[in-house]
Symmetry: none
Subunit: 188 residues, 4 copies
DNA sequence: CATGAATGAGCGTTCATTCAT
DNA sequence: GATGAATGAACGCTCATTCAT
């Protein structure tokens, strides 16, 4: 099957899915997503074979988006802690800037429709983040933990931090700081 | 008085719900839950006014169960690190012993049917855990973070650790150890 | 089967049914009726074998109540028009005084659960009213109409009049008058 | 454009609803209506958002149908009584010709799902009938009654007459006559 | 390819009636 | 007899997916 006509429509569907999942969770009807995207009900299935396929694609897209944001503008020359802080800030800022994406991603993360395969791909994306943030292991037993575990822990702390930043924006900076410190200690 | 409402049936429904949510997520049909519990479809609604009510009750029950397991047999006299390690071990063991409960709890935690009120109650339960584990803050900026945030971060690391322990049981002990160390460093 | 214990309970159920049907129509749950009557769910079925049986009994009771009210205090010696006006006034006053009964009766009148047998019995009750109101037929073709038809027409005009009196109480007297006049002309 | 919404199907649903309501009252299951209309269960909801919406639309449609039938072929030049008799005959004939519609309309008329708004629209339709039948008020107190009341009374007598015509068709003509006379006297 | 009507299995919940206590 | 929990068929409505246009 040739690639469907319009990349624009594909993107519109993905963007609409973000908003729909943010508001209604993974139970958001495909009809609603299509409507928000400005395409017909059935057209959604031209671009994604099933609702699951859409969700899997979206999950990866959001992970990539998040990772790219976190790594954006990374100063090549800077001492390690500064780099780490930069990545962390970027990451948290992404969540604050695009709360719908953040929420959609969180909801997709726990939804059965996202397959193990997809999750594995996503993990690989995240491991790069972890890799960049991980200092040379000096001591402690976390150093022997597989990268996947480190990445997952880091990610879960990040998620929690984002939650608090979004729920209580007045102290956003404070949570951001505390979250970073937690991760930093964990890793060092 | 007529046949009294049976605690046994109530428990059977809750237990059935655990299994059903473990397998099918919060979308698990009430009919399935009832069937697994060995009661009629409509009887479920004698014990819980709505599916939501059932889920909220179950969420609290599972949190309480988990907290109780974590705090079980806490040695009164022991130095702090030992106590912490004990709690952490209990906690992880609970997840390994009752993976369905663990999974159901995780799924309920991200489901819209669980209300803010219920979450607030649950948080209070978990804060006790955090309180017991929290060492006297000596330095660092985590010390100024509200207890809720500390509890949430700790919980998220625990969840991640459980995931790895359940997915890769062969290295369960290793993850348990690494997770503990992460939390320990974070807090100290 | 002996008559059930308490006539009081039977009456309480009937009275509760009036209120429930007034508010919810014939779809009112038996459980609600029982609750309003202050008896247990199942007890209702000790006094009335089925919901239908309850409704049929209530229908007759209300018709009787209405007819009795209409004929109450009928002056033995008075010219015909005066008697008729008296009956009509009584009738309308009943509706105004007991709007729930009136509404319940109206709702039961169009409900399938009330059987033809019951309706026939009710008609006999109403025919007495018609008989008392019917002047000696002098002319016109209504004179040849069967009493049942006359009674039914009279009843339908009365129902309509009641509706307007209850909906627009400010002009109640006016509608009462106009309704009476309509019936009077019809019959004379 | 995709398959357009079919007026044929819409009509089939309305017609099926007439039959279903005639037989089972407003409690008729939507599934039954859909089946009788030869469409899928869910298709009914493509044409009418809810069961209530269907009932409201049907109520208006039937009222319009009835009014149109009553006014059909009204001789332009004829003395007043003759015109009135013509309308009345048409009206009664409609009931005899389409007893299911008549019955469905009667049942819908007392059903809570038909809203006040719909009833108001229906009243406007019926007032035209009343207007055409109302002779120039010469005397009596009905002349001061609002048109709505006159229309309602006329309608209720018509309904009663229809009932007798349908229940006892052998004397249909007789009831038709007597009903007309009743209305005529009432109004004149 | 785009459209949106058509499909029908599936869901949460209700309720008349029964029956264990 | 009184109670109210138990039952399970039934209902209105949704929604992923298909397919006629």
């Amino acid at each position: 099957m040739a690639r469907p006509r319009s990349d624009e429509k594909r993107s519109a569907i993905l963007a609409a899915a973000v908003r729909a999942i943010d508001r209604h969770g993974p139970g958001a009807p495909t009809a609603l997503i299509a409507k928000e995207a400005g395409v017909a009900n059935g057209s959604l299935f031209t671009y994604f074979q099933t609702k699951s396929a859409l969700f899997n694609a979206l999950y990866l897209e959001l992970k990539r988006d998040m990772a790219a944001a976190a790594l954006a503008g990374l100063p090549a020359v800077a001492d390690l802690p500064e780099q780490l802080r930069h990545v962390w800030s970027n990451w948290m800022e992404w969540a604050v800037r695009a709360p719908q994406k953040r929420q959609a991603l969180a909801r997709l993360g726990v939804c059965d429709e996202v397959t193990v395969t997809t999750r594995a791909q996503a993990q690989r994306i995240m491991e790069e983040l972890a890799y960049r943030m991980k200092p040379p292991p000096a001591r402690g037993s976390m150093r022997e933990a597989p990268l996947a575990f480190v990445a997952a822990v880091m990610n879960s702390v990040a998620e929690t931090t984002m939650d608090f930043m979004l729920t209580d924006p007045a102290h956003g900076e404070h949570y951001c700081q505390a979250g970073f410190e937690a991760v930093w200690r964990m890793l060092s």
